[in-house]
Structure formats: structure tokens, C-alpha cells
Symmetry: C3
Subunit: 202 residues, 3 copies
């Protein structure tokens, strides 16, 4: 029995990210005054879209978001929270931003690692990592008819995912996958939160 299991930590980060993105998707539904169906669709696309896109592109079996029901339950819980509570406090908002930034790094790293495990080369693996991380928000924006936020005007969001994916490629190559997860999460979260506070843009 291990005292510290990195896998369990990363799973927790992963599901926390699903929950936070479900809530963030639901918040968009609230802004647009949608009905409960809208809350569900936007929560599910925000929370699970990136991973579904990754698994659909990799074609190595049905998406994890469908085979492991924990993902769907968590994303639906996010929709319920966003529907039940109007999250407008400064602290609620900060909390969601931090979880989202942490999850962004986690998703970029897991997406990259999954692609490398399946034998893809480093450049496609980086692309898949970034797609995993930013795909959900991008699909959500397209679904509601917005130009995806990552295309400009926002702070270093896709860049944070890119940094995390590149770090994962290097550390995976050195056989340090768990270290890669940790470094990717830490640096992506730091970059995204600093960029947001200071208004850094590309």
C-alpha cells in the first residue's frame, strides 16, 4: 500500500475539472437565459467535449466520458449547481478559475500522454493534448454561436495548455510520466492565473 498515490491525485484533479467546467458551462446557459436542457448541453460539452474529441480522434475505443459514468454524473452535477445557484460572488468566481486552470494543465498532460502511449509522435501528441484541454470550451462556444474565446482577446489560455503538453512530451520521453503530470499542472495553472491577473495576452 502506498502512502501517496499520484494516480488518485490526478483522477481527483480530473474530476474536479469536469465539475468546474460543468459549472462554467451552466453559467453560460444562465447568461443566455436557457432552459434546463441548455444547462445540461452546455455543461456536458464544456466538461466532457475535450476528452470526447481526443478519444474520437484517437479511435482507441469509445470515449472515457461514456465508458466511465463518473464523468457524466460529475458533469451533470455541475449543471445542477449552475442551475440552482447563481455564482456571482468574487470568491466563487476565483475558485472556479483556479480549478479550471489546474484542470487545463491536467487535461493537456493526460491528452498528450494518451496520444504518446498509443504511438503518436510528439507533434500530434501535443496537438491532442491542447485539443483535450481547450476542446470542450471551444465546442461550447461554437454551439452557442460565439467565436471561441481562445482565438484572441482572452489571456494565455491555450498557451498554458501548450506549455503543459510540451512539458509532458519531454518528461514522458525521459520516463517521468507522473513528474510530467505534476509539472504540467503546476506550470499551466501558474501561467493561466498570472496571465489573468496581469492581463497578459499573445
Amino acid at each position: 500500500m502506498e502512502i501517496f498515490d499520484p494516480g488518485a491525485v490526478f483522477n481527483a484533479v480530473d474530476l474536479a475539472g469536469v465539475l468546474a467546467n460543468g459549472v462554467l458551462g451552466g453559467a453560460v446557459a444562465r447568461q443566455l437565459r436557457m432552459d434546463p436542457v441548455g444547462f445540461l448541453v452546455l455543461a456536458l460539452t464544456s466538461a466532457l467535449g475535450g476528452g470526447v474529441l481526443r478519444d474520437t480522434l484517437l479511435q482507441a475505443g469509445a470515449p472515457v466520458a461514456l465508458t466511465n459514468p463518473a464523468y457524466l454524473f460529475t458533469a451533470i452535477a455541475g449543471a445542477f449547481i449552475a442551475y440552482a445557484i447563481e455564482l456571482k460572488g468574487k470568491w466563487a468566481n476565483r475558485f472556479l478559475i483556479v480549478i479550471d486552470a489546474v484542470a487545463l494543465g491536467c487535461w493537456a498532460a493526460t491528452g498528450t500522454a494518451k496520444a504518446l502511449v498509443l504511438g503518436l509522435e510528439w507533434l500530434p501528441a501535443i496537438l491532442l493534448g491542447v485539443v483535450t484541454a481547450v476542446g470542450g470550451g471551444m465546442i461550447r462556444d461554437i454551439v452557442v454561436g460565439r467565436v471561441p474565446a481562445i482565438f484572441g482577446g482572452n489571456t494565455l489560455y491555450a498557451t498554458g495548455a501548450l506549455v503543459a503538453a510540451v512539458e509532458m512530451v519531454i518528461l514522458y520521453g525521459l520516463g517521468l510520466q507522473n513528474v510530467g503530470m505534476g509539472v504540467a499542472i503546476a506550470s499551466c495553472a501558474t501561467l493561466c492565473i498570472l496571465a489573468r491577473r496581469r492581463g497578459w495576452k499573445l
Copy 2:
């Protein structure tokens, strides 16, 4: 030889739904004054998008809409009908609405059943059933730059699909797949048509 073959009935409902949704997609192309390419693209996405999305997510082989050419022929026939005839009579409209409501239940039930057969659990199976039923219209709306109608402002459309998918999960679990198809179709169609007549919304 059977006197009554439920499979044949459901196939007929399925293809009737493809035809009706092809016509409805073409009608959107007419509204937006598109050229014949637009009629074809919107008819195909409306009629086949949900099933293609289901099969792409399930990753159990190329979509049925591609392996069985009857689907493509039927959807293209829908595009031709919408292009040739301006369907503006009250009765034509009612007829399309009824077939669409019947097909919605049929697609929700078949999508759910296919996911269960492939070993997915009940919650992902329900999601796939709903995606099969409403995915085509949703993709069509996104393609033409509309916020998908199912997100609010319309009557109980996604809800009808959800009811059908839930019924299918229960009756499939009891070993009654054919009964599940019938019940799902009947209740979804009844709910959608009543909701539309009475203006029920979420």
C-alpha cells in the same frame, strides 16, 4: 414466417424519420435562400447527423448512414422534395411534425439500445439515445449559425427524447426491447405533439 415483424416496422419508422428530417432540413435551406448544395448539406445533416454522431462516439465501425446506402438515398430524396415543393400548407406541416415526433422516439430508443448492446451503462446509454434523436437538428442549427432550438424557447423536444431513452433503458433491462421501442415511440410522439399544441415548455 411471421405475420407481424416489429423489426420491419421500426425500420420503416426509422427511414420515414430520415425522409421527414431531410425535408425539414431542406426547408431551412429554402428559408435561408440557399443553393442546391445548401439543400443537400442541411438535409443530410438533419436526417443523418444524429445517427452519425452516435456511431462515431460508439466507435463500433463506420456509421450505419454510410454502410447502408438506403439512408443516404432517403435523405437525398428529402432534399429533392424540399427543393421541388414549397411545403407551406397547414397539412403538409402537420404531417411532417407528426413523422418527426414519431422518428424522435424511434431514434432515442434505437440509440439507447445500441449503446446498451455495446456494453455502456444506463446513463451514457440515455445520453447517446438523446444525442441520436436531437443531434441531427442540433448540427444543422450550428452549421447555419443558429443557436440550436433545443436550448430553450421551443416545446418539449429534447424532453420527449429523454423520456423515450429512459423507457428504453428500463424495458431493455427487463428483456423487452421491442416493447421498449413501441412504448418509447408512442410516448415520445404523444408528448411532443401535445407539447407543441399546448405550448408546454421547460
Copy 3:
């Protein structure tokens, strides 16, 4: 050793099309004053979206655009060119249009052939050929919130792809796949360029 290898010629046409479409996607990002992330996303979707859509639908392994890194490198090079140089000269524009028209025929023919090789019938194979050819530009337009240009108002773009796909089905059936590639490319390019010069529309 062969003096003339048709495969190498078609590969060169294919990659030239990826480069040209990467540049054309980047040019849309420039029009919309996007940041470098926008250039990359639009270059990648324009250049690789059609092939990725084809391979995702065919479900015969991960998309070629991911397994062969040459595609990603070429598309990213297109993004860099569009970012570095403002292509507004008449000749630069003409050059891109010609390469795009040649690549359109090439992609329609390869998409159709790949579907036929995997056992699809002629109608789904034609659909996949057209999707391969026009899918990237269509996804790009959807992502930036435009109604896809192929739906009307433009000259015979999808029609050129359709002609190329139909020719490929016929010549593939006669065992003349290489001839089919050549004929499809030549006729699609001729049709598209003539249509654009003369303003032919559907």
C-alpha cells in the same frame, strides 16, 4: 525504379493543398484580427479538417493527419506564412486559388478512393470524397461563426468536388485508380477556376 511515380505526384499535390489551405485559413484569422492561436486553429482546421472528418467517419484508425506528422508540420507552416506575410497581391491570391482548386480535386478523389477501398458503396464513397474536399473549409467557417461559403453565393466549389468524386467512382470501378486521380484533379481544377473567372454559380 520507375521514371514516373504517380503516388509521389499525388502526395506532393496533397501536401501543397495542405499548405495552401493552411495559408488560406490563416488569412481568415488575419481578416478577423485574431491572435497567433487563432491563426493556428484556423490553419489547422482549414488544412486538415476534411481529412480528419473523413478518417473519423471511416473509423479505420486514427486520422492520417495525426499519424503522419508531415501534415501537421505543413499546416503549421501555412499558419506561419499567413502570419508573417500579408498576402494581398493579385498573383499571390491567384496562386493560392489555383493550388486550392487542384487540391480540392485531389482530396475528393483520395477520399472517394479510400472509402471504396474500405468497402463502402458508391454513394457513401462520393459523399466522403466531397466531405474530404470541402470539410476543412466548412469547419473553419463554422468555427468563426460564418455560414459555410459552400452553401450558396460562391462559385462551383462543392460541385467541382462532386464531379471529381463521381469520376473517381467510375474509374476506380474500371481498375484505373491512378487515371482517376489525374482526371479528377484536372477536371475539378478546370471547373473551379473557370467558374471563379466567369462567376458560374448553381
